[in-house]
Assembly symmetry: C2
Homo-oligomer: 205 residues x 2
Amino acid sequence: MSDVSFIPPRPGLPAGTAAERRDAARNRERLLAAARELIADCGAEGLTMDRLAEHAGVGKGTVFRRFGSRAGLMLTLLSESEADFQSRFMFGPPPLGPGAPGLERLIAFGAERISYVMEFGDLVLAAEHASRGRFEAPAAVLWHRHIEILLREEGFGPDPWLMAGSLAATLDPERLLSLVKVHGIAPDRLAASWRDLVTRVVREA
Amino acid sequence: MSDVSFIPPRPGLPAGTAAERRDAARNRERLLAAARELIADCGAEGLTMDRLAEHAGVGKGTVFRRFGSRAGLMLTLLSESEADFQSRFMFGPPPLGPGAPGLERLIAFGAERISYVMEFGDLVLAAEHASRGRFEAPAAVLWHRHIEILLREEGFGPDPWLMAGSLAATLDPERLLSLVKVHGIAPDRLAASWRDLVTRVVREA
DNA sequence: CATCTAAACGGACTGCGGTCCGCTTATTAT
DNA sequence: ATAATAAGCGGACCGCAGTCCGTTTAGATG
């Protein structure tokens, strides 16, 4: 499953770039280690680019050269779990992966996504704060397509692409986190509501 | 209709505060005028607090004393049209206002909201970038309640409050704007998709 | 009018994300 | 080994939102 990578190992750089220099690789590792350390200590919000640079013992410019932006850094930190999530719903066992009917896969997808956000919430949030467009991020596009395909599989008529976007919007991390952390809603209830929503949307096509 | 104000005339200040001083009032007018001017010239993104202060001939501290934050300023600029929108769906004529069946009111609500975002998009976006929680803003809470009430009116069973939130998330301004501006989707198509969505959700309760 | 006080004021200051550009260094070719 | 070159590097610098605090002033009181 790891031979299909939707998240490049060094995001931001074009695919066919020459191998990176030794010192660059070393600094990247240093930075990632320092970042995880800082996040463990101060939380994702407490990670600033200056502090990261200092903590890793490199210049600030280096941080931005590596990751492009704060969001890019967060994305890199997430890439492993993100890729795992992706491969699970694309190639994994049913009901999340192929083999189950579309509706069941939709339901499972929502539940998984909710769990994912519960686990990596603040990281995801920080990654989303990217300068431009949370809807154009490669991962977001992929879910969108995924939902659209499942809708079509269920014979959904009018405008599957738009409806897929609407459903995806429903799983917005900021919203989910606010529901759980501010309003004290149990994640299970979120999953149940998602199940209800997609069931109604798909019903009798 | 204007005797019910959900948006205080001077947001951020407690209700029972003494009348503001003359100079303060004058500065507030100056600031609002300058802000509208700057937005007309440079767009909402081009409005920075420093430029606004300079343009209005006041100190920067004054700007923040008046509006609390950039988002607060944007909210103030929007308050008139926002209040108008609110009063229309709460007290106005059907199908948006009371008198029509819940489903029709829901459909009309989405359509109106889409138009609203198309008209004031960048303002809304800038206002939403408030420091904490776009879901706790008074206006957002109000729509949420509104949708919930209409769902209940249609006999929606399981979890009307959560479902209302999901439906509201579907109308997220950033998403709508991205669809129209990046993907070139016609607003009518958005409205049609919304109609389809709420119809399916409400169908046979 | 003089006095007093709370509100309003202004702008220097902080911390942030992000950019720029001259210097350094790993790597490759000769 | 040496020279050439492109990649990497660092940190000064920018514009931004938001804060702080000493100073000014509107307006009420006697």
